[in-house]
C-alpha cells in the first residue's frame, strides 16, 4: 500500500500485553469443562459441519420408533406401551453400537492421532483424570442416546393417562439398566479407541467386539436353549455387554427370553460382570494415559 493509499477498514489499537489476574480453577472444574466439551464434540458440536451428520442421523433413527409409538398412542389410544422402556435399547442395539463405536474415537483417538494429548498433559489435569473425564463424556453421550427415547415414551405414557406408578417403576428400572449398559459400552469402546490412533480400526474393532460378539453369544444361547442346556446359555450371556443387558432385562422386567439368568446368584453375577467390566476398562484407560504421559 502506498503512503497516500486509503486507510484500511479498521484500526487495531495495540494495548500491549496484559497479564491475567483473574481466578484459576482447580482440577475438578477443569475436568468438568473437559467433560462438557467432550459431550458436545461427541455430537459434532464445536467441530466441522460434516462431523455432526453421523451422530444426529443415528440419534434420529434411534428416536424414530419412539416417535411412531407416541403417534400411535396419541391417535389410537392404547392400554399399554407397545414396547417396554428397557426393551427399546435392546431393539435398537445396532444403532447404539454404531454410535458408541463411531464416537468413542472422537473422544479418545483424535487427541492421540493429532498429538493434542501433549497439550492436555502439559496442563494441570493429571493423565488419569483426563482419561476419566473423556470416559465421562462418552458415558453422558451414550446416556443421551439411550435415555432420550425412554423419556419420550414416558412422557407419552403419562399424556396417554397410563398408570403413573407402574410406568414410573418401569422407566426407573430402564434407567438403571441403561446406566449399567452405558458404563460397560463406554469402557469397552473407550479402551479400544484409546489403543488405536486410527479411527477406522477403533470403529471396526468396537463393532466387532460389541455386535459380532453379541451375535455369537446369541447363537450359542439359541443352540443351548434348543438342546435344553440352559446353563451353558446363561454362562455364555456373561461375555458381552449386550447379552448381559438382555439377560437382566429378561430376568427383571419382562420374564421369558432365551436362557435368561436363573436364580439370584446368576443375576448378581450378571450385574457384577457388567460393573466389573466397566471398572476394568476404566482402569485400563487410566493406565494407558499414564503411559502416554511418561513417553
Amino acid at each position: 500500500m502506498t503512503a497516500s493509499g486509503t486507510p484500511s477498514r479498521g484500526v487495531i489499537h495495540d494495548l500491549g500485553y496484559r497479564p491475567y489476574q483473574g481466578p484459576r480453577l482447580g482440577e475438578g472444574a477443569i475436568a468438568r469443562a473437559l467433560v462438557v466439551t467432550g459431550l458436545r464434540n461427541a455430537f459434532g458440536l464445536g467441530r466441522s459441519g460434516k462431523s455432526k451428520v453421523l451422530p444426529f442421523v443415528l440419534l434420529a433413527f434411534n428416536l424414530l420408533p419412539a416417535v411412531v409409538v407416541a403417534g400411535i398412542l396419541v391417535f389410537v389410544g392404547l392400554e399399554e406401551l407397545p414396547i417396554g422402556y428397557a426393551r427399546y435399547a435392546s431393539t435398537t442395539q445396532v444403532l447404539l453400537g454404531i454410535f458408541v463405536a463411531a464416537q468413542a474415537p472422537v473422544l479418545f483417538s483424535r487427541d492421540l492421532r493429532h498429538g493434542s494429548i501433549t497439550l492436555y498433559l502439559a496442563r494441570p489435569l493429571r493423565a488419569g483424570t483426563y482419561a476419566l473425564a473423556r470416559a465421562g463424556s462418552l458415558l453422558l453421550a451414550t446416556l443421551v442416546f439411550l435415555l432420550s427415547p425412554v423419556l419420550i415414551l414416558y412422557v407419552v405414557a403419562l399424556l396417554g393417562e397410563l398408570d403413573v406408578v407402574e410406568q414410573t417403576k418401569d422407566a426407573a428400572l430402564a434407567v438403571v439398566l441403561a446406566l449399567l449398559l452405558a458404563l460397560s459400552l463406554t469402557g469397552v469402546a473407550g479402551l479400544i479407541a484409546a489403543c488405536s490412533t486410527r479411527r477406522g480400526f477403533a470403529v471396526v474393532g468396537t463393532i466387532a467386539v460389541l455386535l459380532v460378539g453379541n451375535g455369537l453369544v446369541s447363537a450359542v444361547q439359541s443352540v443351548a436353549s434348543f438342546e435344553g442346556a440352559d446353563g451353558v446359555g446363561e454362562v455364555a450371556g456373561l461375555f458381552t455387554p449386550y447379552s448381559l443387558y438382555r439377560g437382566l432385562l429378561d430376568a427383571w422386567v419382562e420374564g421369558g427370553g432365551v436362557t435368561p439368568p436363573s436364580g439370584v446368584g446368576m443375576e448378581v453375577a450378571y450385574v457384577l460382570v457388567l460393573v466389573g467390566l466397566s471398572a476394568a476398562c476404566l482402569a485400563g484407560l487410566v493406565v494407558r494415559y499414564r503411559r502416554v504421559a511418561g513417553r
Partner: protein, 317 residues
C-alpha cells in the same frame, strides 16, 4: 561434572536443576545436569538426542527423574507437577492441532483446561491470538492453515493462560524465512515486553544468537556450557581480512606472513592472529594490500559463534 552457572547469573532463577539425571533403560538421556535459568529469553542448544526434549518433559513434571531434582518457578517438578504445569506454557515441536477445530475455539478450550473460567478464557484467547498475529483466519478450521499459522496457533495456546514461563520446542521449525523472522520477533517480545520467561530450543544457532539473553548448550545429555549469549559471541582477538584480485588471497597471506604475522586462510577470508597485539595492524594490512595492488574488501574483528562450543568441547566448564 559441576556446571558453571551463567556468568552474570540472574538473580531470580526460573528453573533450577541439581544433578538432574534421566535414564531410559540403558539410554542416558540426561546426565547430572546442574543449571540455573533466569528471566528473559534462554536458548537451549543441542543436536538431536542431546537431551533437550527430555529436559522439557522433566521440567513439566511429566516424567520422573532417575536422580537429582528440578525446580520450576519455585515448585519441585516431582511433588508439585500440577502447580508447575499451571504456571508454564508449552509449545511442542510436533503437530498437536486437531484439523477440524478453529484456532479460536481450540485456544479457548485450552485456556479452560488451564483453569480459566469460560468468559476469561474467551477474552484471553482473543487477546493472545491478536498478539501472535492470527486475524480472521482464527475462525477457520486449523487443518487449512499454513505451517506459519499453525505455529502461531501453537504459540497462542502456550500463552493463553498467562504463564510465567514458556517452553518453546523448535518454534521456527519448517517456517520460511519471513515467517521465521516473525516468530523470532514474537519470541523476543514474549521475553522482553510480555515479561514471561522463555526457554526456547532450536537447532539453528544463528537464531538463538539473535533472540536469547542466555544460552545453555547440551551435548549427549550433559551440560557443555551455560552463559550469557554475549560471552559466546566475544571477540576472538583475530582480525578477518578479505581481499579481491588475481590470486589475491595467497599473495596477501604470504606478504603478511613476511611481516611476522600468523595468518590462516578461512574460506574466502584470511584470519590474522592478533595475539601479538600490534597496534598498527590495520595500517599494516592497508599498506600491504596497497603495495600488492589487491582490492581490500573488508577488515573486521573475528567473533565467536555458538557452534564454536561444539568444536572446543569442555573448554568452558
Amino acid at each position: 561434572m559441576t556446571a558453571a552457572a551463567p556468568a552474570a547469573g540472574p538473580t531470580t532463577a526460573v528453573v533450577r536443576t541439581e544433578g538432574l539425571t534421566k535414564h531410559y533403560g540403558a539410554v542416558r538421556a540426561l546426565e547430572q545436569l546442574s543449571v540455573e535459568i533466569g528471566t528473559g529469553v534462554t536458548g537451549l542448544v543441542g543436536a538431536n538426542g542431546a537431551g533437550k526434549s527430555t529436559l522439557i518433559k522433566l521440567l513439566l513434571g511429566l516424567v520422573a527423574p532417575t536422580a537429582g531434582r528440578a525446580e520450576v518457578l519455585g515448585h519441585d517438578v516431582v511433588t508439585a507437577g500440577r502447580e508447575v504445569r499451571a504456571a508454564v506454557g508449552y509449545l511442542p515441536e510436533h503437530d498437536c492441532l486437531p484439523p477440524d477445530v478453529s484456532a479460536s475455539d481450540f485456544v479457548v478450550h485450552l485456556a479452560m483446561m488451564s483453569g480459566l473460567p469460560r468468559v476469561s478464557a474467551r477474552e484471553r484467547a482473543a487477546e493472545v491470538l491478536r498478539h501472535v498475529g492470527l486475524a480472521e483466519e482464527r475462525y477457520r478450521p486449523m487443518g487449512t492453515y499454513s505451517t506459519g499459522m499453525k505455529q502461531k496457533a501453537k504459540l497462542a495456546q502456550a500463552l493463553v493462560h498467562d504463564p510465567r514461563l514458556v517452553l518453546l520446542d523448535e518454534p521456527t521449525n519448517g517456517l520460511d524465512p519471513a515467517a521465521r523472522d516473525e516468530m523470532l520477533g514474537l519470541v523476543e517480545r514474549i521475553g522482553r515486553d510480555f515479561g514471561i520467561a522463555v526457554l526456547v530450543t532450536s537447532h539453528l544457532l544463528g537464531e538463538l544468537e539473535r533472540v536469547s539473553d542466555h544460552v545453555v548448550v547440551l551435548d549427549g545429555g550433559r551440560l557443555l556450557r551455560a552463559s550469557r549469549t554475549d560471552d559466546f559471541l566475544d571477540a576472538t582477538g583475530a582480525l578477518l581480512v578479505e581481499v579481491l584480485g588475481e590470486d589475491a588471497q595467497r599473495r596477501m597471506g604470504e606478504a603478511l606472513a613476511s611481516h611476522g604475522l600468523v595468518v590462516r586462510p578461512r574460506r574466502q577470508l584470511l584470519a590474522i592472529d592478533a595475539a601479538h597485539g600490534r597496534p598498527d595492524l590495520h595500517d599494516l594490512v592497508r599498506d600491504v594490500a596497497c603495495d600488492l595492488g589487491v582490492g581490500l574488501v573488508r577488515v573486521q574483528a573475528d567473533h565467536h559463534r555458538i557452534e564454536d562450543v561444539f568444536g572446543t568441547r569442555g573448554a568452558a566448564s
